[in-house]
């Protein structure tokens, strides 16, 4: 073939050496400290994560990976975060990492200098766990889905009601709460609420994927001081939408790591399991679904990496890219989870085998920050249909 000439490369759709190094460090730690036997124990505990290991992650700078150095973080970007989350996803690592990262992202995106100083260092050093409280009983990601009204009262808004489907609600001590300030569809605000404030109660339980926690934040005359509002009241929808995009990217990042692991487990099983005198991976009825899983997984990764790159480099492209990644990835992982179990045969259905854990992760990931119907509809709207 004609020789490919060496050229100065600018377009570069791969990870840097530093990012590969980060990946191998995360992998080393999780292999040592959070193998699946350990994950299975942790997921049965009340808090659903290991506080000692959480502190260790903080010391390594991973909790504040995308928080600027000036606020106690590592000052890295969303592509680096994808590397970290792919590995936590691969291990089904139970922790409030995504929740805390997103809460920090909300403050970083819409907060004042003073607010960043006040909250970000504690989120980076692990002393505070943060989470987003966006959804309500409507389970709607549209602005009109937020009904909880904040009544202006002096220097605060007073909230009574419930935020639903709050990730890690029982572990968090800082909530970024979306609420309504008026009757217009987008009259919304974002405020930071301390878990210890009067009138605030929160609890969570294990989900279908026991490594993940979801719960309810109940508010009874809880006060969010105006000094704790992120941005101006009544104008928070764009910031909320950016959080939804980032949430979709974060969930998809973990999903690709988990799907990678599910595919590896199933490929290994197909090589080891002998039936009709040969490894079952020799038969096209088995190898073709595995090839399909690979196609879906690689395609999800490509869509995801572009969306993560766009967060810093091309923000106007984020809504479409994030929706494409989450929509495609969610459907792909649903298939991968189901086929993974099915290709294992009866043992895939046992509690003892690990493949079922990934199927459960797929069920958890589907609705998180919007299912494929939601995101494909968004793509259709953004494309002018």
């Amino acid at each position: 073939m004609p020789e490919v000439r060496a050229v100065e490369v600018q377009v570069d759709f791969g990870f840097s050496e530093e990012q590969e190094l980060l990946r191998s460090e995360v992998r080393k730690l999780l292999d040592a400290r959070a193998p699946l036997e350990q994950v299975r124990k942790t997921m049965e505990t009340g808090p659903g994560y290991e506080p000692d290991l959480w502190r260790e992650l903080a010391e390594l700078g991973w909790l504040g990976l995308t928080i600027p150095e000036g606020f106690g973080g590592a000052g890295l970007g969303w592509v680096d975060l994808v590397v970290l989350l792919q590995e936590t996803g691969r291990s089904l690592f139970p922790s409030p990492l995504i929740s805390t990262t997103l809460a920090a992202s909300a403050i970083l995106d819409a907060g004042t200098e003073e607010q960043k100083q006040r909250w970000l260092p504690s989120l980076a050093d692990g002393s505070r766990i943060g989470t987003l409280a966006l959804l309500e009983a409507s389970d709607s990601l549209a602005p009109t889905g937020i009904a909880l009204l904040g009544k202006a009262d002096g220097d605060a808004f007073v909230l009574s009601g419930q935020k639903k489907f709050v990730a890690d609600a029982g572990a968090a001590n800082l909530f970024v709460v979306a609420f309504r300030t008026g009757g217009g569809p987008q009259d919304l605000a974002l405020g930071v609420l301390d878990a210890g404030a009067p009138g605030v109660t929160a609890s969570h339980s294990a989900t279908i994927d026991a490594t993940k926690r979801l719960g309810t934040l109940s508010l009874d005359e809880a006060r969010i001081p105006k000094s704790a509002l992120l941005g101006e009241p009544g104008k928070a929808w764009p910031a909320i939408e950016r959080l939804l995009d980032r949430g979709a990217i974060a969930v998809t990042a973990e999903l690709t790591g988990a799907a990678d692991a599910a595919l590896s487990l199933t490929v290994q099983y197909a090589k080891d399991r002998i039936q009709f005198g040969a490894p079952i991976g020799k038969y096209q009825g088995v190898k073709h679904p595995l090839a399909e899983m690979y196609v879906d997984l690689e395609s999800t990764k490509s869509l995801l990496y572009y969306a993560a790159w766009a967060v810093a480099e091309s923000p106007s492209e984020v809504p479409r890219s994030a929706s494409l990644a989450k929509a495609y990835g969610t459907d792909a992982f649903t298939r991968i989870g189901i086929d993974g179990v099915q290709l294992h045969g009866a043992v895939g259905y046992t509690a003892e085998y690990d493949i079922q854990l990934y199927l459960k992760r797929a069920k958890w990931a589907r609705p998180a920050f919007g299912d494929s119907d939601f995101h494909y509809e968004r793509v259709a709207c953004l494309g002018g249909l």
Partner: protein
């Protein structure tokens, strides 16, 4: 990760755009023969035909990135092809550049670049389609000639080609079926060659059966060594990469499908207000976007010098799904009118959607069926045992 082009590449993009502004006027028909003749001369003079081939053989010596830019700009403007000799440029030429003798290079490469005539590809046989390496076409050497007897099939444009790149079996006793295959360059006017076109289900005849009866080929027209034919072919097909131009063409198809959806109705309401229609169009968009980004990831791998393992099969599978599903979806949108064939007054857009819904095998089957692509991924990338 970085998706920006270097200043040199941006300058090259500007050069391509300026060329198109000047030489591809708005409203210019792509079927206008004198225009196409002129176009071919102009792009040839720019050395954009065989753009990535070495300058010594008459190519452009362009870099991979420049090639991406060139193809992208060309397909955005729906420009005519760069060069008229499709198979010559896609794989025959690269194989000759790599394996050919000096004499073969001088004889064939300029004609391929000029589009002087067409090449066809004699690979598949009635009993060896997907299992190409089992091919049986007989070939015996007699002095300084090879004598060929056998049959090829699914040979695209055989009836309009002057030359064929042909795979034959020279050593039936070779230890492996991959050995003992030899590659010949055969003039189609050689006595003993009989071409019989095959009509396909969409009504056109693009491919043919080709029969060889004591066809004599000079030894000097052998490409590569005797028994090296498999290698010559595999590396030639590998250069048929899934390209950015293909993705731009798919995006264009999607736009046309979106326009069709806007014209159609479903139960009295615009089809574009139907949630299933909206979702389906967005799913197509996701798959095409994935193809584009998968391609860029492979390109990065190539630029970094990392080995490729069959990643192009991923995009071939996505493309296959898209071709079949998009063709079918168009007819679904048309509803009952989708049942008409060209020739009726009721037929929408002259029957192009019906043609599209039946013509996908050209892309989906040619160059390896989807199941062959799945085997490649399973065996080369996932390292599952061969069956």
């Amino acid at each position: 990760m970085d998706f920006r082009l270097s200043p040199e590449e941006e300058a090259f993009r500007a050069e391509v755009r300026a060329f198109l502004d000047e030489n591809l006027p708005e409203g210019q028909s792509r079927m206008d023969f004198p225009f196409l003749m002129e176009w071919n001369k102009k792009v040839r003079a720019k050395r954009w035909v065989g753009f990535s081939w070495p300058k010594e053989v008459g190519g452009g010596g362009g870099s991979l990135m420049q090639q991406v830019v060139l193809k992208e700009e060309m397909s955005k403007r729906k420009a005519p092809p760069l060069g008229a000799c499709f198979m010559g440029l896609a794989w025959v030429g690269p194989a000759i550049v790599h394996y050919g003798t000096e004499a073969q290079k001088q004889r064939f490469i300029p004609d391929i670049l000029d589009g002087a005539y067409q090449w066809c590809t004699g690979y598949s046989e009635p009993d060896t389609g997907s299992d190409l390496a089992a091919l049986q076409c007989k070939c015996v050497r007699e002095g300084d000639q090879y004598v060929v007897n056998g049959q090829k099939i699914w040979t695209s444009i055989a009836m309009w080609s002057k030359w064929m790149i042909l795979l034959v079996r020279t050593d039936p006793k070779a230890a492996s079926k991959h050995d003992g295959i030899t590659c010949l360059l055969v003039e189609m006017s050689t006595p003993g060659i009989d071409v019989r076109p095959i009509q396909n289900m969409s009504g056109s005849s693009m491919f043919a059966e080709v029969f060889f009866n004591d066809v004599r080929v000079p030894v000097e027209n052998r490409l590569g060594a005797e028994g090296q034919g498999w290698q010559v072919t595999v590396s030639a097909l590998a250069s048929e990469r899934s390209s950015i131009a293909e993705v731009t063409a798919m995006f264009r198809k999607l736009e046309e499908l979106q326009e069709l959806a806007k014209k159609c109705t479903k139960d009295g309401a615009p089809a574009t207000s139907d949630s299933k229609v909206r979702r389906q169009l967005a799913v197509f968009e996701a798959k095409i976007e994935a193809m584009k980004l998968n391609g860029l990831r492979s390109l990065t791998q190539q630029l970094r010098g990392e080995p490729m393992q069959g990643e192009t099969s991923v995009n071939k599978l996505l493309r296959a799904e898209l071709e079949v599903d998009m063709g079918d979806f168009a007819l679904e949108l048309l509803g009952s009118a989708g049942a008409y064939w060209k020739g009726s007054d009721e037929t929408v857009d002259g029957g192009r959607w019906q043609f599209g819904a039946l013509n996908w095998p050209e892309v989906v089957i040619g160059g390896g069926t989807p199941n062959i692509q799945r085997n490649i991924i399973a065996e080369r990338i996932l390292h599952l045992p061969k069956d």
